[in-house]
């Protein structure tokens, strides 16, 4: 429970994940008494990472998920990180059901820290090619901000979380405030040269990641230290080597004395007062006792994660807003988009045979978007960024049995060829037909309506996949990679864990929910700054942009509060 017994605060933040953590941190830093609500349990840095120091042989199933668990929870079991070492940080399908009118793999982390504990830690900035995309290409609505509005907030966030990267000088992927990069592998360097020599507009760079590679005073104050390259981040890091809300934002906000963190609290709805024309607080349900109560504040940040933010707003009905809070336009829940992660190209490389990598590194290579950047030139809209992966392993045969098998296993025959692969990260187009809504009859065990998913790929996605296959097959061939094959996983939307939109920003209250400060057009003391606010999705991993938008909006809210405007 918070320490404020009269249930009144200056600010309420719904959701203690990555973006909610940023809202709480900024508000508390500026002396705002803040209640941070989290529907799941508390997860304290270090204390609640039970597997973080377990060796591979200490897991009873060596990382595998028991059959009964994966059978009962097919959606979460499709997530790459849902393994024995981190399964306790994921919501099981059976615990929180939803309705798939179309297949949608909804991957969730209900706990303090949210999905920031298990995220992939890739942090690429957006550019104006992204913010100007919808207006130029005629989809969604124009973003009410441009890169210049967000750039200082990107820097603000990067300095605090720690981002390892190179200054690449690319207009498609602006540079930031970077800590030193890890080395590139020799095959990445080779592929980088091949791309540079063959394509004027394509680049392979070091993928920027939220890891500390050089000590700075701010990290010392946070109690974090350098990444050790374990690649076990999804368990929570004993060094605080990567950024998550638990190691960085929440303890920081707590040290101000202004934060009341309250886990196990499900927000049922946001309360609205007709007289003042403002939200007054939240109605919550104790997740354990099911007891209902209310909390009140002058400003409310909604950071419940994209689709749960949609759910809460849709469920926040009143005489003024019969279709959900702030939903005069009717767009709430609509124009949801995601990233197309279906496509991979793989191969082997028999060059650089005398070399291998040594040690561990938490990132990969990255090819920023090169399609339709300066003008529309393909038969599909927008484009894709690409992750590039290279690895080399000892050549170990599993053939035979008896002493012969033992001999094979214990005497590797040198190293195999380099394994290379490229993974597409495609932009999808937000459409009115991709939406979520509340079920009219079914509720969860807390009495909150179940969410219904209507989100799917379209022809634009299919054409983009074909282009990705053609282009990376060609690029791999030029690099001398062999046995090149293409793979379409056919996975449903959601498994990218990059769902965005439904509460989009825009200039016009008739076609959008939020203004340029992430304030609701129709209820200005409510801010939405998680993935739900996104007008379009670009190709970049979105968390850095959520954090920058949140920090910017929180500082706007602080100014508004101080001016008495909200």
């Amino acid at each position: 429970m918070g320490n404020n017994t009269d249930h009144h605060f200056e600010a309420i933040v719904i959701g203690a994940g990555m973006s909610g953590g940023w809202a709480a941190k900024e508000l508390c830093d500026h002396g705002i008494k803040t209640l941070l609500l989290e529907r799941g349990r508390n997860v304290e840095h270090l204390k609640d990472y039970p597997t973080t120091n377990m060796q591979p042989w200490e897991f009873p199933h060596r990382g595998n998920i028991p059959y009964a668990v994966s059978e009962a929870n097919p959606v979460v079991s499709r997530c790459y990180a849902f393994r024995e070492d981190a399964a306790h940080f994921f919501v099981k399908d059976t615990e929180h059901p939803y309705i798939q009118d179309q297949p949608f793999d909804w991957i969730r982390g209900y706990q303090v820290g949210g999905k920031s504990i298990m995220w992939a830690r890739q942090v690429q900035r957006w550019s104006n090619f992204d913010f100007e995309g919808p207006a130029r290409d005629g989809f969604a609505v124009d973003w009410p901000i441009r890169y210049e509005d967000l750039a200082p907030w990107y820097t603000h966030v990067e300095k605090f979380i720690g981002v390892s990267g190179n200054k690449d000088g690319l207009d498609v992927l602006p540079d930031g405030d970077f800590l030193p990069p890890f080395e590139m592998s020799c095959v990445e360097t080779h592929f980088q040269d091949v791309i540079r020599n063959n394509y004027a507009d394509r680049h392979l760079i070091y993928a920027r990641c939220a890891h500390i590679t050089e000590m700075r005073d701010v990290f010392r104050k946070q109690g974090r230290t350098l990444c050790q390259g374990r690649n076990l981040c999804q368990r929570g890091c004993p060094y605080g080597g990567y950024f998550n809300a638990n190691s960085t934002l929440i303890p920081w906000a707590q040290r101000t004395g202004n934060l009341s963190l309250q886990p196990h609290t499900v927000v049922q709805s946001i309360l609205y007062d007709d007289q003042s024309g403002k939200a007054t607080g939240v109605r919550v349900i104790n997740a354990l006792t099911k007891e209902t109560t209310e909390y009140y504040a002058k400003i409310i940040f909604v950071n419940a994660a994209t689709l749960n933010t949609n759910l809460i707003l849709l469920n926040s009905t009143s005489g003024r807003f019969p279709n959900g809070l702030g939903n005069d336009s009717g767009v709430l829940g609509k124009y949801v988009a995601f990233h197309n992660y279906r496509a991979h190209v793989q191969g082997i490389y028999e060059g650089h045979q005398q070399f291998r990598t040594d040690g561990g590194r938490p990132t990969s290579g990255y090819v920023p978007r090169f399609r339709n950047v300066y003008r529309q030139e393909m038969d599909f809209l927008r484009g894709y960024a690409t992750g590039f992966y290279s690895s080399k392993h000892k050549a170990i045969s599993h053939r035979g049995m008896g002493p012969e098998l033992l001999d094979h296993l214990t005497h590797p025959t040198g190293y195999g060829p380099w394994q290379v692969s490229a993974g597409m990260m495609g932009e999808t187009i937000p459409k009115v037909t991709n939406f979520v809504r509340l079920d009219e009859a079914r509720t969860d065990e807390w009495g909150v309506p179940l969410l219904r998913m209507n989100i799917s790929h379209d022809d634009n996605d299919e054409r983009m996949i074909q282009d990705f296959f053609e282009q990376f097959s060609e690029m791999f061939a030029k690099a001398g990679f062999n046995q090149v094959t293409t793979h379409d996983s056919g996975q449903a939307p959601g498994l990218d864990i990059h769902e965005m939109g439904g509460v989009r920003m825009g200039r016009d209250p008739q076609t959008s929910m939020l203004n340029q400060w992430n304030q609701m057009h129709a209820c200005p003391n409510v801010y939405v700054t998680d993935g739900a606010c996104m007008t379009s999705v670009s190709t970049q991993n979105p968390s850095l942009t959520f954090m920058a938008l949140t920090a910017r909006a929180a500082n706007h809210a602080i100014d508004q509060l101080k001016e008495g405007a909200i």
Binding site: P56, W57, P60, E71, T189, F355, H398, G402
Partner: protein, 167 residues
């Protein structure tokens, strides 16, 4: 092992007080749900040892190889494949009996290999029994501290990354 011994002691104590239901695996109560007899479980151990005879190598793991195999069979295998595994195991027992082999473990290595070759060429259930046992034996060995540190380049905390080192 200690847990198993403790449970075993409890079962023996309990037997004096109540009439236990027909218990096929008194020695392995944690795997009772698999419905395997004690001699069948021990045959799995013998097959695993024949397939991958690690001998005197210091393969220290929290559980024995047999416990790992039985845990994977119990927890990470579909009921259908569990049933097929059992069928394959039973068929192998029949084969050994037909061949007048009193015990797999007492066969010399050549005869053991011959028997395993028969399994590999047997019906689908026999092949499944062989392949699963073999796979889990390999997995147990190749995820051990001994293997990861002596054969592979495993470092739990690397603390560095070099992108291009000469082999």
């Amino acid at each position: 092992m200690k847990r198993r011994q403790a449970l075993q002691s409890l079962a023996i104590l309990g037997a004096g007080l109540t009439i236990l239901p027909s218990c096929r695996t008194k020695k392995y109560p944690e795997y009772r749900a698999l419905g395997l007899k004690e001699d069948q479980i021990e045959l799995v151990d013998q097959v695993a040892t024949a397939v991958l005879p690690v001998g005197q190598l210091p393969v220290e793991t929290p559980e024995s190889r047999l416990d790992f195999i039985m845990t994977m069979l119990r927890d990470c295998t579909s009921p259908e494949d569990q049933s097929r595994y059992k069928n394959g195991l039973e068929a192998f027992q029949s084969y050994l009996k037909d061949q007048f082999h009193p015990s797999f473990s007492t066969l010399n290595q050549r005869d053991q290999m011959k028997a395993l070759a028969y399994l590999q060429e047997g019906d689908k259930d026999q092949q499944l029994f062989y392949e699963h046992t073999r796979r889990w034996a390999i997995q147990h060995f190749t995820t051990s501290s001994y293997y990861l540190t002596n054969v592979l380049d495993f470092h739990f905390v690397p603390g560095h990354f070099y992108g291009c080192v000469v082999i």
